[in-house]
Symmetry: D2
Subunit: 343 residues, 4 copies
């Protein structure tokens, strides 16, 4: 009765939701998605609300209703909704037999306490916390393929975890040294709601740090890199551009390594993973290389001692950092090639 | 009792008000201005509200109250307030003997009806409408010097009027031909209130036309160029930058002219006027040349026939288009050199 | 021997060539294109030269040689080359039986004299000037489908011609009135060569007019709108953004019209044309709506008299203004749906 | 014979030189500066070369000649010239009795070997290396006041040294821990020469790291913070904006401190220094706060342990990072208040 090629998309009004629409509308394995929003303002199709979709986004738009979704044939629901909305509706959809890819933070932690202390919100239903797969397919593709609920990771977290995981798994980071993650993001990462600090004039020709020591992506990074809280220093900055995250990550290695060894470690770890691109030693990726793509590009520089390593990791915060990765996860859930509709 | 070197500034929270603060704080002929805002949020000095002023903006900040202003020694009040607020408080300040430079649209028109039909607001007190001088000092310096109330012009209007006035006074524009004013402004011109369409992501890498045939600066342009409504075509666009207006103006001349004649006409009209800079024939000003200044730069191109003329006029919408011009008007009112504090 | 699904792309190093690569690499009806450049710097594949193509641009890269192309199986060559290079190599390719889509200005005019006087270059071979189809498929699809040589139009010209053609064909523009085309383009339109005036700092937060009365796209516009030289006033400006052209076009109508009539005229003219989107009366397109697409979006505003019309036409200068339109033309030449690979 | 209020400015064509012109032209204690450039292109005054100075930059422009400068009355020369030019002409000017403020890297190091190994250029005359004062007036005002030659610091170095010096002087940084300086600069910092990687389209909507472990400002930072080479990790990035540097600096403290203690340390160190502004604990400066100023703004965040400290330091790379600081140094050399002409 549920049709795995039929999907519901909830919450298309933010930047992440719009990007999800762009990707899913051209997905060759899907029937046209049905979009659900809280306020349709009388619109019956996506292009009425977002004129940039005219001519190719004549997909149906409906008022958000859990019943409407559960009584449709949709096999999977994407939730591009606020944390509390996801926490509320995901269980109902799951109970009705849908699979869910949730782009909020609600199901990213095994521990309800981690969620409540960082998000200051009531914890989602504990059963589902335990069952959710964390949606970095380069690391957890097996879990994702089988999962009924995938928690799509935070954008900053994705860029940091992909950069650090090969080193932490291999045990190359010196104990008791700080791992500094200095991350910079474009303004789509801050959401679409009008805010004084997101007014064009406040972001244009400006640059600033924010949420030092307090960013909500911290616990995801700790959990999926295995670093302990004393080691990780994670900072975030707002760039005067629309799309992209570049993380500059500073690591002290346990033993001196050569640039070749480091490149080889990354290439081995991501062998066969099309969406992570390792840059040759001596070259560095830039935001422009990944904007409007689903790639995470990783490069590095090593000092003469061979022990101080700087890793540069970049991705599009709406692509691999959100909507693109959500579809990549969905492709794993469907059992099709992970990059379909993402190139 | 009133001290002509003492000023009150009302409404410092918008971009225009901030620019006014920047200019007045370094004005060599003034004692430190007193700033009045609706909401002080407990701040006692400008730098508490706007940390960028720390170290040089320790000027007093007070809750807006007409009584407080009238009972101070202030000789002049600058109103960087919404139209309706200016309309309400200007008469009370004038009655108490202050001179007023109003940056809103409230007193720009002799006819109350013009104001009400374009602004959809109740008309300000008719007596003051008649008495206000229109604050383009290159044209009306005599009136401004004597005026008790100066209506500071709109930013677009300033750029268009300064570009067209020499031609219309001289009668060089062919009758029954359209004068097309295609104007482009940076985002500070749209105000500081958070609005979805002014979110960084909506302006960045974007460009759009707005308010075609309906922009409120239309009646100012008509009145001070002498063009009739059938001739003027005035359009406005939003540029992805913070500061500046560039107007491209298309005129059909009555008689063929040479580029030398046109340059000479402009140079003669603006002789001795430091704040309008005429560019030599064959060269064109750019926004960068006037950003963060009080200049209006004017250049032009003429076609081979000598009858089709394109004028390019540019200025900083917060400078010559608003706060700078307000201070230039104030300098005339004080009887000091017009460019003081403006270079 | 020639394979219509096999293409050669000459000159991939500019912004237009890169965009062409992006589109052709995902074209479902093609075998991987072969790219030819003057300087390969030892690179054997596109991704070596342009790392952003890693993982999906492993297409072969070869040193430019007419012999290499003619002795390959390529059925069509795209020329993203300077005018003089196109003029030189297009005839040789055509003589060898290839079809050619040329993105330079060399073959856009029937008259060699028009080309030489505007481009200050020797005229291309006269036989081919006469045979070339002008590549606006919404107007000349029949000619394009049969053509051996398609001259892909200028970016500004495309935006203006698509906006004016319905009016001029219908004879709605008043005689002896100026048609003012105030056009603004992003910086990719100015080419990729390092130039002082294209340095980031010279474009950022800046805006300027250039080439007034002298822009090379003028004769294309005249020829394909049917306007005479006295009527057309065409100006160009540089926007501080990467991609997009927005043209604001001012027309005086012969007879008063209603907004409905105007919208109906455009809808009828472009009925069935997926790549031109007409905006409902009262709404206007913005650059963001067309960036990274092959759409040309057209909207308008009409004054109360019904005779003064402002048309806003926008497109991506690398998309519908260059590479996208080239592929759209190619699709017509292949006899497949015009929008394939363009959504 | 030498007039201390008369200055020569050499090399006004770069962004730093232009900013220097802007500041010196309004300096109240100076007679109009004379500007010297390699190529005058026939211009006799600054405004002919740079039209943005029309109306206030009618200062004389002359072809660069050491003789012309030494035979003028100039008491001080500012050198905004390439390293090798400064190295060549500074000694001749000094020998003729001028004082010199050099904005290049040539005289920043006591050790000729440091210069040659980082700059790959011949060392300047050794006598002058020893005599030059390093121009951070908040640290070396006594030396600067007496100096005949002041080496104006690098822009990145200024932002890092001002942020770290209070901590290193006090001995608060834990031994054997890395000090990570993640620095980001606007594009004026990269110079004005046309380069492919500084084309608008390559910087706009882009962000990248560069010169990791190899930036030339490294030895300045080492020398004036007292950190050793093993401790300092210094990285640089290019922001898509024109002006400003923001450095995010990660320090591990020897002992836990409170935020109040840290703020107090900075306030004490910079007491009476108008050009360094310390932000209250819990607040952070942004680039917008310092653009177009001579301020260096410093804020910080401390983690719960009181041992991991993040310092945010920002300044305008053309202001406090170059031309502004040069004038601040000059003011010290003249014995006048350091902030004159800098607010």
């Amino acid at each position: 009765m549920r049709d795995s090629r039929s999907v519901a998309v909830v919450g298309v009004t933010g930047y992440t939701g719009l990007e999800l629409a762009r990707i899913l509308l051209r997905h060759p394995e899907l029937s046209p998605p049905v979009f659900y929003v809280r306020e349709t303002n009388g619109a019956k199709c996506l292009a009425e609300l977002f004129p940039q979709f005219r001519g190719w986004g004549e997909a149906p738009l409906r008022p958000l209703s859990v019943d409407a979704i559960t009584s449709s044939r949709a096999g999977t629901a994407f939730l591009a909704t606020p944390h509390e909305v996801s926490a509320e509706i995901a269980p109902a959809l799951l109970d009705a037999g849908l699979r869910v890819v949730d782009l909020s933070g609600s199901f990213r932690f095994r521990s309800a306490q981690t969620f409540t202390s960082w998000y200051k919100l009531p914890a989602p239903h504990a059963d589902w916390l335990g069952e959710a797969a964390y949606g970095v397919p380069e690391i957890y593709s097996n879990e994702i393929a089988k999962a009924r609920l995938v928690a799509n990771p935070g954008c900053y977290a994705t860029s940091v975890i992909l950069a650090l995981r090969p080193l932490t798994e291999e045990g190359w980071i010196a104990a008791n040294t700080s791992v500094v993650c200095d991350c910079k993001s474009g303004a789509t990462g801050a959401g679409k709601d009008p805010r004084r600090d997101l007014h064009f004039v406040e972001v244009d020709e400006n640059f600033k740090a924010y949420n030092l020591f307090t960013h909500r992506h911290t616990p995801e990074i700790l959990e999926h890199t295995g670093l302990n809280e004393d080691q990780l220093v994670f900072s975030t900055h707002l760039l005067p551009l629309a799309r992209g995250i570049l993380s500059t990550i500073y690591v002290t290695l346990d033993q001196p390594q050569s640039a070749q060894d480091i490149e080889a470690l990354y290439r081995k770890y991501y062998a066969g993973r099309k969406m992570v691109r390792i840059w040759p030693a001596g070259t560095l990726p830039e935001l422009q290389h990944v904007a409007h793509t689903n790639f995470c590009d990783i490069g590095f520089a090593l000092d003469k001692s061979g022990r101080r390593l700087i890793i540069v990791s970049c991705l599009d915060n709406l692509g691999k950092g959100a909507a693109g990765q959500a579809v990549q996860n969905f492709n794993h859930m469907l059992g099709i090639e992970e990059h379909i509709s993402l190139q």
